[in-house]
Subunit: 255 residues, 2 copies
């Protein structure tokens, strides 16, 4: 099975989905066979990849409940070297069904065990909360990438997220590495951004990735058009920064 | 009981907490006796009001479980005319406990029935998800205020949020009014912002509030200092826009 990265942070709006889509695209451009999985019922990674009409089709929910095998829910060649497993609002039922039986933390990792090494990288976009879907994403992953906006509430929540994370490890008896903290939507001309970025580097130095994603309106526009920015405008600063991130992570994974 | 407004949207990072804190402050400045309630385990409204050390103190969780009466958990006179019920990370247990027993959607409205009309307005900040805590906030409220950032994913999720909302009404047998959609973090010089704002007004015209909250870095800085912007710099555009919002809502509620 390929190197599996969960993109997670319970703070909302920090760039999880934007990172999942654009990092997956960057691995694909680097000719790494990549699978993007959307486990957020909001389905924003699915929409951001231009997938609209899903009614009647099988999606991640059907794979998690065992109604469908993994090959029935993979959308092949969304882009060269990039496949996808789309989300649907029905994923909320995974959470609700839990009321009737405990367990269910490893539904996704069981599903992914049906793969036979056809991917180099697997990227999972998760929702802004610590619920059963996020737990599934974390237990299925080798490591966790934490997008972080340099704003007060997001940083405030980070230390708690890391603590909750340690509790998970014991409870789920699954060791998952923190791949790193990715600074996103960075505006170098805003004092508060620079101040908070310095503070994070001082406090969490080793965990902060070297690549910083700047604020680039083209990333938003690309989502509107349902195509990752690297496949729309490869020279844009947003696209280049995600390409740099992929190179940094590829060299990290090799060690 | 005062007019109760739930600030809700399952999309993350759209300005729910910023709106809850600053709207509560605006009502207080307008000399309306106001109670701010934080039902998000992230506790950002609590932190944004400068409340740090809570260990050992009773918070919203204790009120919801019945261990404490409402008067034991209200922090009086945080600011003139502004009281608060703080959140704590232990609120996640409300969600987890649900696994053992069904129901629990009206814990907050039961708690608020202990009040005897001492507030003109009650504002509830909710988490970025549709879970039991958010359901509690909705069932306890008279109306829902939906902050919306003019960006693609947030607008995409809005139509679904409104649909889920209708399902709630039937399931919970509780009618809750949509007070309005509040455009937040608006940058008039960004094309995509203006384009999306036009689109929302065309599609959802009557629901879109007249007041628009511009992007103002001072709103972020105020959170860092634990004091609402109206109580730090009343002339700033961020503070003034929330004051305009309070005036618009007061006149709406009177009709
Ligand atoms: N580097 C960037 N530059 C400009 N805009 C960005 C950038 N990264 C993300 N955005 C925009 O910010 C908004 C929030 O990002 P996104 O939806 O990816 O966050 P999220 O963490 O996935 O949110 P949620 O918590 O709801 O899942 C989106 O409109 C997105 O297009
Ligand atoms: N009008 C504004 N101008 C500038 N910054 C803003 C504005 N409104 C909110 N922000 C900033 O944007 C970030 C997200 O806002 P906030 O945390 O209030 O959103 P939220 O919807 O409560 O997030 P969550 O979904 O995690 O609860 C915060 O750093 C906040 O300070
Ligand atoms: Mg997302
Ligand atoms: Mg919030």
């Amino acid at each position: 099975m390929g190197y599996t990265i969960c993109i997670g942070n319970q703070k909302g709006g920090v760039g999880k989905t934007t990172t999942a889509i654009n990092l997956a695209a960057a691995f694909a451009v680097a000719e790494k066979k990549t699978l993007l999985i959307d486990i957020d019922p909001q389905s924003h990674a699915t929409i951001g990849m231009g997938i609209r009409k899903l009614s009647g089709k099988k999606t991640l929910y059907n794979g998690l409940t065992g109604e469908a095998g993994i090959n029935e829910i993979i959308l092949q060649d969304m882009l060269p070297s990039l496949d996808m497993i789309p989300a649907h609002i029905n994923l909320v039922a995974i959470e609700a069904n839990r009321v009737r039986q405990t367990g269910g933390e490893t539904l996704l990792s069981n599903l992914l065990s049906q793969l036979h090494g056809q991917y180099d990288y697997i990227i999972i976009d998760s929702p802004p909360s610590i619920n059963l879907l996020t737990i599934n994403a974390i237990t299925a992953a080798d490591s966790l990438l934490i997008p972080l906006q340099c704003e007060f509430f997001a940083v405030e929540g980070l230390t708690r997220f890391l603590k909750v994370f340690e509790v998970f490890e014991k409870f789920l008896n699954h060791h998952i590495k923190i791949l790193g903290i990715l600074i996103t939507m960075f505006c170098s001309n805003e004092n508060i951004n620079r101040m908070i970025a310095e503070d994070i580097k001082n406090r969490l130095g080793d965990w902060v990735l070297k690549t910083i994603i700047p604020r680039d309106i083209h990333l938003q526009e690309a989502a509107l058009h349902g195509r990752p920015l690297l496949f729309r405008d490869i020279k844009s600063i947003g696209a280049q920064s995600y390409f740099d991130l992929a190179k940094e992570l590829i060299s990290l994974a090799d060690h």
